[in-house]
């Protein structure tokens, strides 16, 4: 059975996108050609400490995590193993664990501690409370 989310409402953001942020179609992968465009996807407060939340940045699904030490990390939103929703995963300072089959991915370089392919990592930072992801 396949389930589609064609009618999913737009992801809520509490900050308007920066001027000049390109409005693009949403895809599963990074935008073709363009590298390193920063996008405001929301507020840092949207992500509770220790947890992850998913956003769309420049047409790319990203999962952003705020660790308990305050540091921010961002990955592709779908697990490269079987599409699991990584934003629902559990994390610590070293790894992110996908909720579906519990593959763990290192924050250091995105590689898996098990047998799955690596995840894509994206730069993310806090800009006066705004959550900025570069894709």
């Amino acid at each position: 059975m396949s389930v589609t989310h064609s009618d999913t409402p737009a992801a809520p953001t509490t900050a308007p996108p920066k001027a000049g942020t390109p409005a693009t179609e949403v895809t599963d992968g990074p935008a073709a050609g363009g590298a390193g465009v920063p996008h405001v996807v929301g507020r840092v407060d949207d992500v509770p400490p220790g947890e992850g939340r998913a956003f769309v940045a420049g047409g790319v699904q990203v999962a952003v995590f705020r660790l308990r030490d305050g540091s921010l990390h961002a990955t592709q939103a779908a697990c490269p193993h079987s599409g699991g929703p990584l934003a629902d995963g559990q994390t610590d300072a070293a790894v992110l664990v996908c909720p579906l089959h519990l593959y763990a991915f290192r924050w250091s370089d995105g590689t898996c501690t098990g047998a799955a392919p690596p995840v894509r990592l994206f730069p993310v930072h806090d800009e006066d409370g705004a959550l900025v992801v570069t894709v």
Binding site: S2, H5, A11, D46, P48, G50, F55, L86, Q90, A115
Partner: protein
């Protein structure tokens, strides 16, 4: 990597221009696989498993109209042991579901490797960026006169033995005919002969070699096999050929090279296989015996690869499945970029078979080749047993086991791994009691799946050990083996121990409750109590090495803190697994399931109507009655959960947690003619009392009104059975999931109140003492039923009071999570979608 054959530079020469997705143009590379046999389809599977569906638009050409099937099993189909439907590996639907274009029944004629176009026999052309040749082999048909009709077809009654169509034709013919000749005394020929004999045919085998299975066996062993085969009633003609098929309208017999004629109405040709290389030849690729490939399975064109029986690697052709699997893995690593340096270095071949009812295992060579080779033979022709080994420089380089394969375990290990051999060589063949478990493990082929949940093969575990992980837990972490249903853990342990060859390192963490805190459960509980640690982060700070938090320990610690502190536990959402954060069971597409509480499986018309209305309102894709007698609403979007709970107005059924889930009941005395006790009411009471109680693993209960066991109480964590006169039996430690175990009778009591009290004591004892994720069916045998009884039945008044108080504390702390978080989210974005704005990703399924 060895130099690329043919002098062209290595590497992919494809120029790929990504187009804008908005144009609706598929920007993926085009991967074409020529051949839909076991090799071609396996490559596609391995590519998809590595996420290659995102990278490649995949097209597979298959000359046969069928999906992909297991050719190895054809002799079983011929023998009637398997139905042809059972040997299908990937159906047409599978290809469609995976988004793979299958051009079944379309032969490929030629490839233009410059223009990168595939020309098919139906006149179509298909472009590619990367191409894989997996054209396999065909039956070798030795020359003989009269074999073909005027239109170059095989004479009616003559069959090759290679495809399902061959097999079907033979089955049809076998039903009508009486005498068959099989040309070829190798493995396939002997299997065909035995299968046809099973259909009542008189069978004779004609073999050109001087002994049967001459590729694998020595002359002596072949002679013993011949004796065994003839004992089955199959006549064997050796060292002769069929020179003529007697016709003319259909086959009526054969003439042998020595002039003898044999009557027959079926002629089956199983005289070996030849690689199919026409496509490669016509496409200008380098072909010797097979399509020549390098260690990266590349032909002399850098964007064309070859795998399987059509490929010639380092001069070798392989006709066994294990090397094909290895090649497919390497190729998929390369194509997807998962491991750009992956290489295939050839396979050492060992086979273990049952040939015409006789066990045969062979590996390496079967005769000494040098003067210094040691050669040990035990031959018992009358018993049909022939055993031999070849040893060179203290290493096993060959073995043959015929009629008695009990020693295959050790020998395979010695052959594959070069393990030291006993100084008394005779011990290689006799008196080697390595234990049944080890023999079983060694006998497993590398590609056999050890962990079905996570698709981990024996080879994957062996490779993990070889790469330096020598603890059982480490291998399980690295491969995910044993991390699904857990039923394979023992086998995983055996494989790791076998692969590590006695050098298994102890998991220091084996006795720890969770991997991130170096304490066993009792010490951990004591520390939590002593230091008043009420949150998971406080536990990490106080007890973890360096104060480091550990993702994989969080869920177990949350459960433990709830056990210790009840309502006084300080909850932290990030310490909970997603199921517990949103109170639903995560499904493979990232949606959740909603299971309202339905105590004892009893519901009302109003509840059913509400559930139906909610299901319609939220367009629930599947409504399913569960094994636990409840209604499961599957495929619910995370963001819909709170509104659905509110509309349902029913409490959570806890179908997601490591907690007490449900109590199944039969109708007991309400309507049943045979019921001896009111099981329905007792089930409702049990569920009411123990609802939502967290525990080391899920707990399932059942109550039945008589020993007919309609609600399967004998196989539950706690099962209660009415036995008449107001008495109830309480069983513990049963399971009917990944393992099946009948529960142990804990006690027979004489009132529902006593059942409730005993259940509470057992559950609390289990909660306090079981390892994290240890089900009662592992826990009870581990600690022993006597120990369980000694505590929960015969414990001191103080012990029993502690158990009663412990469970009561958790019962008092129960609140319905749907009622809480549905109205007041625990954290910002608690129910925010985790895959926003796009179709959910397709999940590849093996």
């Amino acid at each position: 990597m060895t130099a690329v054959l043919g002098g062209r530079p290595a590497g992919v020469s494809t120029l790929h221009f990504a187009m804008d997705d908005a144009d609706g143009v598929d920007t993926r590379q085009r991967l074409v696989v020529v051949g839909n046999g076991m090799a071609g389809a396996r490559v596609v599977e391995e590519v998809l498993e590595r996420g290659g569906g995102e990278q490649f638009a995949i097209t597979v050409f298959g000359e046969e109209p069928h999906g992909n099937y297991n050719r190895i099993m054809l002799s079983h189909v011929l023998a009637g042991e398997e139905h042809e439907d059972d040997i299908v590996l990937n159906s047409h639907d599978w290809y469609a579901d995976q988004g793979v274009t299958l051009r079944a029944g379309v032969r490929v004629d030629r490839i233009d490797t410059h223009a990168k176009i595939v020309y098919a026999a139906d006149g179509t052309t298909t472009g590619y960026d990367q191409l894989v040749l997996a054209t396999g082999s065909r039956s070798f048909i030795p020359p003989m006169t009269g074999l073909y009709t005027a239109d170059e077809q095989l004479l009616p009654g003559v069959f090759g033995f290679r495809t399902i169509d061959d097999t079907r034709a033979m089955l049809a013919a076998a039903a009508e005919h009486e005498r068959a000749i099989v040309v070829g005394g190798g493995l396939l020929g002997l299997e065909a002969a035995r299968a046809l004999q099973g259909h009542g045919l008189q069978v004779e085998v004609v073999h050109a070699g001087t002994h049967l299975m001459n590729q694998q066996l020595s002359a002596e062993a072949g002679a013993i096999l011949e004796h065994s085969v003839e004992a089955l009633g199959i006549t064997v003609h050796l060292a002769t050929r069929t020179t003529e098929a007697i016709g003319p309208d259909r086959v009526r017999g054969v003439v042998l090279a020595d002039g003898r004629a044999i009557d027959a109405d079926m002629l089956v040709i199983a005289a070996g296989i030849r690689p199919v290389t026409e496509v490669a030849l016509l496409s200008g690729l380098e072909v010797e015996r097979g399509v020549v490939v390098d260690d990266q399975l590349r032909t002399d064109d850098p964007d064309v690869y070859a795998v399987g029986e059509c490929a010639q690697h380092r001069g070798e052709l392989y006709g066994l499945v294990a090397p094909v699997w290895e090649q497919a893995r390497v190729l998929a690593d390369l194509l997807t970029g998962t491991d750009p340096d992956a290489e295939y270095h050839g396979s050492r071949t060992a086979t273990k078979l049952k040939v015409a009812g006789v066990d045969v295992a062979t590996m390496g060579i079967n005769r000494p080749e040098r003067d210094t080779d040691e050669f040990l033979v035990i031959s018992e022709p009358r018993r049909g047993v022939h055993l031999s080994v070849v040893v060179r420089d203290d290493k096993l380089i060959g073995a043959t086991l015929l009629g008695d394969t009990r020693k295959v375990a050790f020998l395979t290990q010695a052959f594959d791994r070069g393990t030291p051999l006993p100084a008394e060589r005779i011990r290689l063949l006799v008196d080697l009691s390595d234990g049944a478990a080890e023999v079983g493990v060694a006998e497993l082929p590398g590609d056999s799946q050890v962990c079905n949940c996570n698709g981990v093969t024996k080879q994957a575990l062996v490779d993990t050990v070889k790469a330096g992980t020598t603890s059982v837990g480490g291998c399980m972490d690295a491969t995910r083996a044993g991390k699904g249903c857990g039923s394979c853990k023992l086998l995983v342990k055996q494989v790791v121990e076998w692969a590590a060859d006695g050098d298994v390192t102890e998991d220091a963490s084996a006795s720890w409750y969770v991997p991130g805190i170096p304490l066993a459960k009792p010490e951990l509980i004591a520390a939590i109590r002593d230091q008043q640690l009420r949150s998971v982060s406080a536990v990490f700070t106080a007890l973890a090495p360096g104060g480091e938090e550990d993702a994989k320990s969080k869920m177990g610690l949350t459960s433990l803190l709830r056990l210790v502190w009840g309502a006084e536990y300080e909850q932290e959402n990030d310490a909970k697994f997603i199921n517990d954060r949103v109170h639903g069971n995560i499904q493979r597409d990232g949606t959740f399931s909603v299971v309202p509480q339905m105590k004892g499986g009893v519901t009302t018309a109003a509840q059913l109507r509400t559930i139906a209305d909610v299901a319609e309102k939220y367009e629930v894709p599947m409504i399913k009655v569960t094994g636990g007698q409840r209604i499961d609403l599957l495929g619910v979007r995370k963001e819909d959960l709170p509104a659905m709970w509110a509309d349902l107005g029913m409490p959570s059924g806890y179908a997601y947690g490591k907690s007490m889930r449900t109590v199944k009941t039969c109708v007991g005395t309400d309507f049943c003619r045979f019921g001896l006790g009111d099981s329905t009411q007792l089930g409702i009471d049990l569920e009411t009392r123990f609802q939502g109680i967290e525990s080391p693993a899920k707990i399932k209960m059942a109550v039945v009104g008589c020993p007919r066991n309609c609600a399967e109480a004998y196989v539950k964590d706690v099962g209660v059975v009415a036995v008449g006169n107001g008495r109830w039996e309480v069983y513990v430690g049963g399971a009917a999931g990944a393992s099946v175990r009948k529960g142990d009778l804990l006690a027979t009591v004489d009132s529902p109140a006593a059942v409730m009290q005993l259940t509470g004591r057992f559950v609390q004892y289990y909660r306090e003492n079981a390892s994290w994720l240890e089900r009662t069916y592992d826990f009870v045998p581990r600690v022993g039923l006597d120990q369980v009884k000694a505590v929960v039945l015969d414990g001191s008044a103080e012990v029993l009071a502690d158990l009663d108080a412990g469970i009561q504390r958790s019962i008092d702390a129960y609140t319905d999570p749907w009622g809480q978080d549905g109205t007041q989210p625990a954290t910002p974005g608690q129910f925010r979608t985790a895959l926003p704005l796009v179709d959910l990703p397709k999940v590849p399924v093996r």
